[in-house]
Each structure stands twice: as C-alpha cells, then as structure tokens.
C-alpha cells in the first residue's frame, strides 16, 4: 500500500515537472491541456446537431436503398449446384446463387427432397446454418430458426421467411433456377 502511494506521488510529481518544463514554450504555443479536455456547450450542441443530420441521412439512405432494391427486377440464370447429387439426406451444402456474392444453402431433408435458401437471416443478415440434430435452419446471432422444408420462421426475431431458391433435379443433377423473396410487401 505504501509502495502504491509512493508510485502515485512520483507520477503526480512527474506531471508537475512536465508542466513546469513546458511552461516557457506555452507562451509561444499556447496549448492548455486542461482546457483542451473540456468540451464547451456550444461544441456539444453542434455535435448533437451533426449527429441528428447523420441519423436523418442514414434513415433516408437506408430507406432509399431498400426501395431501389425492391424496384429492380432481377433475371436469374440457371446454374448447376456442384456436388449436390452426392449430398446425403439430412445434410446441407453451401453454394453461391444468383451471383458469387450471394451465399445460399442447399438442404437435403431426411426424405431425400432438396430445398435451397438464401443464407442471410432475415433479421440482421447473419448467415444461417443447418442443424442436423433439430432438422431446421438456425441463426446463431439472435437464436432465430427456420423450417427446413419451407423456410418459414419457427421462432425468434426474424420478421419473415428466408428467400427461397427454386431448385430442379435434371438427370440426377441439381440446378438452381430462380430466387424468390418471401414475405413483405412490394414497393409501390
């Protein structure tokens, strides 16, 4: 305890020494550390004003982007899902569709049927994964769950079902043929 007090005293003394040592220079370069640490009411007011503007622009930008995304009509190409034919029942496979940036998940349920969904959770876009034990899609971020056969929400915070990717089996190969956004409304 005594040692700690000595250390504190030494540090405080060093601080005093530094202040004294820099004092002559402060006449030419008037930098006041104590004043620098203070925020005036006016500065704080301006900061709040700028924050308000940023929040307004953020909300507007987000809404505009959502509206634009809803209006744009995408055309989908057909793509083969590599390795899907070897997928064992009650297991999953990750792939990208319709573009390389859009991650998706293919599930082969216990009855042998194929179902594919966009991998982004509809709550806050975390990637969902297939839980073999529970035979459902689960989101690890906020504990949401989706039905493996329909993509519908089973429980948790997600507000709508997962985006569905339409799959077709042609000559034993599995093909992704389209993507459908489920739930919600269309922008008018």
């Amino acid at each position: 305890m005594k040692k700690l007090n000595q250390t504190i005293e030494r540090v405080l003394k060093d601080e005093d020494d530094v202040r004294t040592a820099t004092a002559p220079y402060q006449a030419e370069f008037p930098y006041e550390r104590d004043e620098e640490a203070q925020v005036t009411r006016r500065e704080f007011c301006n900061f709040l004003g700028l924050t308000s503007a940023a929040l307004f622009l953020g909300a507007g930008g987000f809404a505009a982007k959502a509206a634009l995304d809803a209006r744009s009509s995408e055309s989908f190409t057909t793509a083969q899902i590599a390795g899907a034919e070897m997928l064992a029942p009650n297991s999953s496979l990750n792939f990208n569709y319709p573009s390389e940036r859009d991650s998706a998940i293919l599930i082969r349920t216990a009855d042998g049927a194929y179902h594919a969904y966009g991998q982004k959770c509809t709550h806050l876009s975390c990637p969902v994964y297939y839980s073999r034990d529970h035979q459902r899609l689960e989101c690890p971020c906020h504990e949401g769950a989706f039905d493996a056969a329909t993509g519908n929400v089973l429980y948790g915070p997600p507000p709508r079902a997962l985006d569905t990717i339409q799959v077709e089996v042609r000559d034993g190969q599995v093909w992704a043929v389209g993507r459908k956004t489920s739930g919600g409304e269309h922008a008018s």
């Binding site: 009411r41 704080f44 007011c45 301006n46 709040l48 004003g49 924050t51 308000s52 503007a53 929040l55 307004f56 953020g58 909300a59 507007g60 987000f62 809404a63 982007k65 959502a66 509206a67 809803a70 509809t122 709550h123 806050l124 876009s125 507000p159 709508r160 956004t181 739930g183 919600g184 409304e185 269309h186 922008a187 008018s188």
Partner: protein, 93 residues
C-alpha cells in the same frame, strides 16, 4: 446562489437553465432518431416498405426540430444583431 466564491446573477442562472434545457432536448431528440434509424433498418430488412416513408419523415422532423433549437431557440440574454448573436449586459435588459 454561491458558485466558486462568487454570487451568480439571476440572468446567469436563467441563461444556464436555458442552455441545459437545450442540451437535454437535443440529446432526447438524438435518442429518438437512433430509435427511428433502428426501426428503419428493421423495416427495410423485413421488406415492410409502407412504414419506411413515415419513419424517414419522422427522422426529418426530428432533424428540423434540432436545427431550430440550435439556430433559433437561444437564451433571452442574447440579442440578435446583424453580425449574429451578442451577449447583452444586465442593464440593457
């Protein structure tokens, strides 16, 4: 009232009270706008497009109120002149 060994004049007390009220209101509006932004993100991800416009309008109204508080709602001990706001002395009031 004693503060730092000096007595505060009534006008200074009122001035400080107005400043405090302004700051509190601005902070509250910022918090409301944060909530609106969170609701906007939620609505956009859920594709509930009908509520997006009202949310953006609400955020805009909050911003306008903030702007009006910063720009016009000032303590009465300040008088507007052609060069801006200046503090008036007590005998001028």
């Amino acid at each position: 009232m004693q503060a730092n060994g000096k007595s505060e004049r009534p006008s200074e007390r009122h001035h400080a009270a107005v400043w405090q009220a302004r700051l509190i209101m601005l902070v509250m509006i910022n918090i409301a706008q944060l909530w609106i932004l969170a609701a906007t993100v939620d609505a956009a991800l859920a594709r509930h497009y009908a509520v997006l416009v009202p949310l953006v309008i609400a955020s805009g109204v909050c911003f306008l109120i903030t702007l009006s508080i910063i720009r016009w709602w000032r303590p009465i001990s300040r008088r507007k002149t052609s060069t801006g706001y200046v503090r008036t002395s007590l005998k001028d009031q």
